[in-house]
């Protein structure tokens, strides 16, 4: 690749943020980045949380270092302009960045004004702004929302407006910094459809930071993998995702089909490379004789077989039927909740949460998930109906009292963090419950050790990385030893390894006897960790059953736009070839497939 042709050329980029605390030194983030991107290329960036992906994005339009200060070395040249020599506002017409959080990108009262803001700043003539506005809104499919307030849109719509407001400046390069990480499944779907449309229709260079391996595999010409401030791999998605062990070592996930290929290769001596769904389907279906398959397909994997099979797998606690569990710790009876006269969030929800269960609560934003779980610790009181926690009606109990029984971890760790040290942060809850002295200290030390936070015990939590802050917020609730843990999307913004680490800790808490209620949009996690799944739609229970049953009948999830994990879909598609239709994890798929072939 010649440097002359490159749209983006990064040479030996080093960058350190200014010190975060008075005593601290500069925080080194980027440690020698070299990258060239050609015009029209689609390049994805993957890397663990805190590796410098966002910093790299900000270096592309000069915000790093021009607005952030810090120590900058090397060169970033975009569209022929060196970012050191041109102000950010000028570079904005070359490089447009769409940030993760759509809320903080809006400052106008209508979609139209929002999208026009950039071109207005660039001094574009009103007639042309009008043309650009129509075009940009058309690309993102938001033409009908011109006069609406951007704040009253759904997450996916907001992010589409954010993309349009960048596109209207007609940048040569579009940078998308984890554009879907805070969105629900519908929102993700909408945004990725726009990205696909852009790739197809427009001659624009796209840099996308993303955690979703399946989407990266689908869109990218090349994938950049970052580790410890450096680029460790740059290649096509099929090469990148075939290196499963290496990716996991770095802390990153791969597509489920790549994972499956690696498992076949390791255990069955094959030489598969699956990157996309179709790769896996084509290969595996060709290797399975449909006629032979029918011989063993009719005793369609009964519950018992499945249970036995998975018993040896990592996700062993999946199959125990709900009925075997002890009596309910939470009982909800005909629960209605109304925010205002015209906003009814829950409409007659009735359910039991069994003591010691691991329940995933899933559904689109606005389906009533958070409203429901906020009743469990008394943050909401029923408008009508009853919620009984541990034998007591929540209507009569203050939140502080319920906090002994139900711990609640909020979606954003920063809503809870306020102390000068991590140790104090973790002590806050138990102290409120009346603990002191040695007992308190013991609890705090135990929580610090359990979450691997001992090294940060005396650091101010607010300046630590996002993944660490997330752990602290969970540890701060863990130290209160509640019987029930409610976790509202605890893995948002975490990389694969941090997610898995956190989920394993949560599973261990479940095994210790804590009931876990996990609100999440990540179906892979649901399938791998949750024993039961509660699906909400429009404030009502759509289905509530053990996870395997829910995903076996995933057609009922269809109009909630919840997509089963790739591996579950693959298994369903391969039912004519003898696969079971209720596979939840890659391990299960492999076990069942190999078992079937052996007949």
């Amino acid at each position: 690749m010649s440097g002359e042709l490159a749209e983006i050329s990064i040479r030996d980029l080093h960058y350190s943020y200014p010190p975060l605390t008075a005593q601290g030194g500069p925080v080194s983030v980027l440690r020698g980045i070299d990258l060239e991107v050609e015009r029209g290329e689609f390049v994805s960036i993957m890397g663990p949380t805190g590796v410098g992906k966002t910093t790299l994005c900000l270096a592309l339009n000069g915000i790093v270092p021009q607005s952030m200060g810090g120590i900058f070395g090397g060169d970033v040249i975009v569209g022929g302009l060196n970012t050191k020599e041109h102000p950010v506002s000028k570079l904005a017409s070359k490089v447009g960045i769409v940030f993760q959080d759509p809320e903080s990108q809006f400052f106008n009262m209508t979609v139209e004004n929002e999208v026009a803001f950039g071109p207005e700043s660039l001094g574009i003539a009103p007639a042309e702004i009008r043309e650009r506005l129509a075009w940009a809104l058309d690309v993102v499919g938001m033409s009908d929302f011109r006069d609406r307030s951007p704040f009253h849109l759904s997450g996916g719509q907001k992010q589409r407006v954010a993309i349009a407001s960048i596109l209207a400046m007609k940048p040569d390069i579009l940078v998308l910094d984890e554009p879907t990480s805070g969105l629900d499944p519908i929102g993700k779907f909408e945004v990725f459809r726009v990205v696909q449309e852009l790739k197809r229709r427009e001659q624009i260079t796209i840099i996308m930071v993303e955690q979703e391996a399946e989407k990266i595999a689908e869109f990218s010409d090349r994938v950049v993998v970052m580790h410890e401030g450096k680029i460790v791999m740059v290649d096509g998605p099929s090469v990148i995702f075939s290196q499963v062990d290496l990716m996991h070592e770095i802390g990153l996930g791969v597509t489920q089909v790549s994972d499956l290929a690696a498992r076949f290769n390791a255990r069955s001596g094959t030489n598969y490379t699956f990157t996309l769904f179709e790769d896996a389907y084509d290969t595996l279906s060709q290797n399975t004789d449909r006629r032979t398959a029918t011989d063993f397909s009719h005793p369609a994997i009964d519950g018992a077989t499945c249970e036995r099979k998975s018993a040896s797998l990592e996700s062993s606690n999946l199959q125990s039927p709900i009925s075997n569990l002890p009596p309910p710790v939470i009982q909800v009876r005909d629960l209605w909740y109304q925010y205002t006269d015209d906003i009814v969030a829950l409409r007659g929800v009735s359910l039991d949460v069994k003591d010691g269960d691991f329940v995933a609560v899933i559904g689109q934003n606005g389906s009533g998930k958070t409203t429901l779980v906020k009743h469990f610790n008394g943050l909401h009181k029923p408008t009508k109906g009853q919620v009984i926690v541990d034998g007591r009606d929540v209507s009569d109990l203050p939140v502080g009292e319920l906090a002994r029984t139900v711990g609640y971890v909020f979606q954003n760790p920063d809503y809870q963090i306020f102390c000068a040290t991590t140790r104090e942060e973790i002590a806050f809850g138990p102290r409120n419950l009346g603990l002191e002295g040695d007992e308190l200290e013991e609890r705090v030390e135990e929580a610090l050790a359990y979450f691997g936070l001992t090294e940060y015990a005396d650091s101010p939590p607010a300046v630590l990385g996002f993944g660490t802050r997330r752990k602290i917020s969970v540890a701060a609730v863990y130290s209160m030893r509640p019987r029930v843990f409610v976790l509202d999307e605890p893995t948002t913004g975490l990389d694969w390894k941090s997610t898995m680490d956190l989920m394993r800790v949560i599973r261990a808490m479940n095994e210790m006897g804590h009931t876990i209620i996990l609100v999440t949009h990540d179906m892979k996690l649901v399938c791998e960790f949750a024993r039961s799944s509660l699906v909400l739609r429009d404030g009502q229970v759509l289905t509530y059953d053990d996870t395997r049953t829910v995903f076996k009948h995933s057609e009922i999830l269809k109009d909630t736009q919840i997509e089963p994990p790739q591996i579950t879909k693959l298994a369903k598609r391969m039912v004519p070839f003898g696969m079971s239709d209720d596979v939840l994890t890659v391990d299960e798929f492999h076990t069942v497939y190999v078992g079937r072939r052996r007949g």
């Binding site: 809320e103 009262m109 209508t110 026009a116 950039g118 701060a476």
Partner: protein, 268 residues
Amino acid sequence: MSFMFDLYVERPGWAHRVDPRVKILFVLVGVISMILFSNLFFMLAALITIQLLIGSAGVPRDRFAWVWKTMLSINFLIPLLWTIFYPEGDILFQFWILKFTPLALVRGLGVVARLDSIAFICFLWLFTTDQTSIVRSLVKIGMPFEWGLVLAISLRYVPTFYGLYVVVSEAQQARALDLTKGNFFQKLKSYMPILVAMIISALRTADKLARALESRALGVEGVERTYLHDIRFSRQDYVFSAVLLFIFCVAIVLHVLGVFTHPLYLIS
């Protein structure tokens, strides 16, 4: 109340079409005229007129109800306090040391009618002008664009920060923080966890906002900002402005002549 932070009502009314600068002139002329006079009948006539103006602009009834509800306590308190503290003329009846006089009541009612009129004059402006137009008009009058943007952003973030307060206080209560216990100072102290977490979150938001503004090319040197919807005076706006200035002159003359300055009589 969902419309507390953005009062604008989207309607195809006549007042919506008027240039926002004319509406600022209307507010100025209206408020000054209300201050120049103190005749009860004049005030009531003005109050009815302004209500009719707002109604004809298509502002829905619930907005009227909201303004009246907001003004309710003042509407009762002022005549009451006025009669108690400023007795004047014949005494209607006396209770302990409190003297009730009709003239003081009339004065009190006059003040109420004046305040209500001023409130509705301002609300006519706010109900029929969206924030973008308000800011755009202020910038047109001579305020720097950045100031206008700061104003718009502060208005825009009021509900966001209120939402942040709600969620942060819920998050801390979930950790058994008790906000009801103890005396005033203990209560104040128990709000610290909420305040600190909010400040940290607000700083993070401000940081993100700054990046977003820069990324949208705010403040490119050597480029004059353009506007998609530039506001321009129509012929109607010139007529309205002329009428307003005429009313203003008449008001000054009447004031000098002492017309409508007595609470009850035409001339002082």
